[in-house]
């Protein structure tokens, strides 16, 4: 599966305190449908009707269901064209409550994995030409496209989010200073108002766009992928809150904390963050990350990792400080370091007190495979693509150029590349990234198999 959906708080105190007598992530809705077919164009109508029917059953509106179906048509056609023989493939539709996902899963050895670069062409002399590549076309009508290459094979995931009505004109109740409050999981009504309060009290660069749609935030939390905690006073007034999202098996992204009319010396922000940490302390989550830090982010909880630049459609570009907090004692580790990144890493590891044994590595003319393969996480709403390498290949730089060009044509200004320092062959790619104007921005401890260095394309602000 492409999404971990275990409840974050299955055994925590927060679970007992907060979830025992309030809303538990919604159950009882159908969550999955699957179809096993062959990569044969004869099945195209079946693949399409499967997608459309699941999308509708899982609650997508007609136009959204059609867009997802279109993307699946494009993807399925692409898969059929790129496989030399007819192979078995599984389609899985998932109800994420605030989105519908369709996953194509197939054995990598049966297909040319190169074809699953975001920018790959069906064939070099394909009549559609460079600009019209199946996967890129598919990406245009969905919110997220992800390409994974794992032990199970290649997996392509298309995610179409549901459309929600914007916030109504209801008046947001004036928040008061709360001296006594408890931190609880909000009931649906409180959560809806909480979304309204965030939008009312905070400038829009301090929260994700999704929060402008209260129904969406409610579904995001009900799906179990997101969590929320609010500080409520005696009269059930909400004085503040925090939202979080489990973005991988190891990492949770925290939004906020958001405080409404609370005095600067209030303990509310710290208590909200404590609640999040305590709830996750005994899970497999290794660290929290904050990209939408409000001025209320309590001091002494997070460490600044570095900054990235974000270019948005509807607002000026901004440098965002990324904060992190480890949840476990750092056991220390060994990383592969290319000489061209040594200085950066030494400085960062010293600054952050990370104990790392650095092993030097660089290419020494050894034979490499011909073709590189990238995985991609494509997030449309954020104009962002995050790439990493699945397979090394001598065409790495060309492949990189193709991605930069294609993504540029698509109007995607935020291009990131992850290098996992657990692998010497990935560290060897560093000079190639540096030559293509990728700049190391931050080190995420243990975010991959080992530490990940996040590079951003472009000179920056």
């Amino acid at each position: 599966m492409y999404k971990m959906k275990q409840s974050l708080f299955s055994t925590s105190s927060l679970c007992y305190m907060i979830f025992s007598d309030s809303e538990v992530p919604m159950k009882g809705y159908s969550t999955e449908a699957s179809l096993t077919i062959s990569s044969d164009m004869q099945f195209l109508p079946l693949a399409m009707s499967f997608t459309e029917a699941s999308a509708k059953a899982f609650g997508l509106e007609k136009t959204d269901a059609l867009k997802l179906t279109l993307a699946c048509e494009e993807t399925f056609t692409y898969i059929c064209k790129t496989s030399k023989e007819t192979r078995s493939l599984v389609m899985k539709a998932t109800n994420g409550l605030y989105y519908v996902g369709v996953q194509f899963l197939f054995n990598a050895s049966d297909f040319d994995p190169r074809a699953f670069n975001l920018t790959a062409q069906v064939s070099p002399d394909d009549e559609q030409g460079l600009d019209e590549m199946g996967l890129i076309i598919a990406s245009r009508s969905v919110e997220r496209l992800q390409i994974f290459h794992g032990s199970e094979g290649v997996s392509l995931v298309l995610v179409k989010e549901k459309s929600y009505p914007p916030m109504s004109k209801i008046t947001i109740p004036e928040s008061k200073t709360l001296r006594d409050f408890t931190v609880v999981a909000p009931d649906p009504g409180t959560l809806k108002l909480f979304a309204g309060q965030i939008v009312h009290y905070y400038p829009d660069h301090l929260y994700p766009r999704d929060f402008r749609f209260p129904g969406k935030l409610m579904d995001m939390v009900a799906s179990g992928e997101y969590g929320a905690a609010v500080a409520v006073g005696k009269e059930e007034l909400t004085g503040g809150g925090v939202v979080w999202f489990q973005s991988s098996g190891k990492m949770v992204e925290v939004f906020g904390p958001y405080l409404f009319n609370q005095p600067p010396q209030s303990s509310m922000a710290a208590r909200l963050i404590n609640a999040v940490i305590e709830g996750l302390a005994k899970t497999g989550i290794l660290f929290l990350i904050v990209m939408y830090a409000t001025p209320e982010l309590p001091s002494g909880y997070f460490e600044p990792l570095g900054a990235i630049d974000i270019f948005k459609k509807d607002s000026p570009p901004a440098a965002i400080t990324v904060y992190c907090r480890q949840l476990k004692e750092d056991p220390g580790s060994t990383v592969w370091v290319h000489p061209e990144l040594e200085e950066f890493l030494k400085k960062e590891y010293r600054r952050l007190y990370f104990a790392r044994r650095m092993k030097p590595t660089e290419s020494a003319g050894e034979a490499r495979p011909e073709h590189s393969v990238f995985a991609a996480r494509f997030v449309k709403a954020q104009n962002t693509v995050i790439l990493n390498t699945i397979w090394d290949g001598v065409d790495f730089s060309d492949n990189l150029d193709r991605h930069i060009r294609t993504l540029g044509n698509e109007g995607i200004p935020n291009i990131f590349f992850e290098i996992d320092l657990a692998y010497a062959w990935q560290a060897n790619l560093i000079p190639l990234l540096l030559r293509r104007e990728f700049i190391p921005r931050l080190v995420l401890p243990y975010a991959g198999e080992g530490d990940i260095v996040l590079f951003q394309h472009g000179k920056g602000l």
């Binding site: 105190s13 007992y16 940490i277 005994k282 909880y301 907090r325 750092d330 104990a355």
Partner: protein
């Protein structure tokens, strides 16, 4: 090669359980952190180590005996304890550390759908064993750093089998006095098993601190844990035990692994148990160093939680996991307490004065950069 179908082989409660990764051995850590010394102040070990008589037994251990199995049920140890406490040898069960006897009790009483009750911020192994065995651990928030008796009682339902109370509590050092424990046991009225973990009992000098062992005759549902890892300085040999009424222990014996306590551990513990002097000397160090730490930490204006036991808690104005890394680079290993659900707190085990000074010195550096 076969592919192991882990998805279908592994129960869900194991799939979602996160393994505990212990810290690397000292030489590895010293290499990684580039320090030439390492004060381990993270495991609540006795700074004096084992009592002298016990050390002598270890030294004299005849190697050929390693070729033979130990007594499968720690026979001489049980007889000695029975004599000391006026009980029957069959009221004792030994394990490879108290950690192992936790599992014996849970296996003996819980089946699918059952639950145990304990605190959210206490020694983690009760919660772990229950969770990875497929049982629910109901975690009751501490109240003023102590176990909340009323909330624990309120949480009991028809599927509750065991209530675990850590007395004194690791890490907060709080304890229930005899009146509170008795009233709790009276309310439970024998319906569930009540475990009192007395791993640190030998450190407590308070008059109203209850001796669980003395209450077993009155409360047959009471099970008491003790260990040789803390006061007796035998953590590396792994030996601990439980005791209870005959009927209850007879049931737990069925799920207990025999032969899990090795010969050296049994012989050494037998010598350690009679060394009262060792207890006094250890208490002396612990009390003196706790006083020293309290003064230093007060001087730095830091919030502390100092109760019973050979450890203290300090609240830092910074992330405890960052503090852990900074302390390690100074050659001092403390316990960061996010894992105990105490964000930004650390727990420091009491060591000899040199170690305590090293800790204070490192702390000042950690806070200043």
């Amino acid at each position: 090669m076969f592919i192991v179908p882990l998805d279908s082989l592994v129960p869900d409660y194991v799939k979602t359980f996160e393994a505990y990764i212990p810290s690397k051995p000292d030489p590895e850590l010293m290499k990684l952190y580039g320090c030439d010394r390492l004060y381990r102040l993270n495991n609540n070990e006795n700074p004096l180590g084992p009592p002298p008589g016990a050390q002598e037994i270890m030294r004299r251990f005849p190697p050929p005996r390693a070729g033979l199995y130990p007594s499968g049920d720690s026979y001489y140890m049980r007889c000695r304890l029975a004599e000391l406490y006026g009980m029957d040898p069959d009221q004792f069960l030994f394990g490879n550390g108290a950690n192992e006897v936790i599992a014996f009790v849970i296996k003996a009483f819980c089946q699918e759908g059952d639950n145990i009750i304990t605190a959210d911020k206490t020694f983690a192994v009760y919660e772990w064993v229950a969770t990875f065995s497929g049982f629910t651990a109901k975690l009751i928030p501490l109240k003023d750093f102590g176990f909340d008796d009323q909330a624990m009682l309120d949480a009991i339902d028809e599927r509750t089998k065991i209530l675990f109370v850590c007395n004194p509590n690791n890490p907060t050092g709080t304890y229930w006095n005899e009146a509170k424990l008795r009233s709790f046991l009276d309310t439970v009225a024998g319906r569930q098993i009540v475990v009192i973990d007395e791993a640190y009992c030998e450190f407590v000098e308070k008059d109203d601190y209850p001796d669980g062992m003395k209450l077993i005759s009155e409360y047959p549902n009471l099970v008491v844990f003790r260990t040789f890892s803390k006061m007796y300085g035998l953590a590396g040999l792994r030996i601990g035990y439980l005791m209870g009424s005959m009927g209850v222990v007879d049931v737990i014996r069925r799920t207990c692994v025999v032969y899990s306590v090795n010969t050296v551990a049994q012989d050494t513990a037998l010598a350690a148990i009679d060394d009262i002097d060792h207890i006094y000397r250890t208490r002396e160090i612990v009390n003196t160093e706790k006083r020293y730490l309290r003064e230093e930490l007060d001087g730095l204006g830091l919030e502390t939680q100092i109760g019973e036991g050979c450890f203290i808690m300090v609240r830092l104005p910074m992330s405890d996991t960052l503090a852990y890394r900074k302390f390690m680079s100074e050659g001092v290993m403390i316990r960061s307490m996010t894992g105990f659900r105490f964000p930004n707190w650390i727990r420091v085990s009491i060591g000899r004065h040199g170690a305590m000074e090293a800790f204070v010195e490192a702390l000042k550096k950690v806070l200043s950069v």
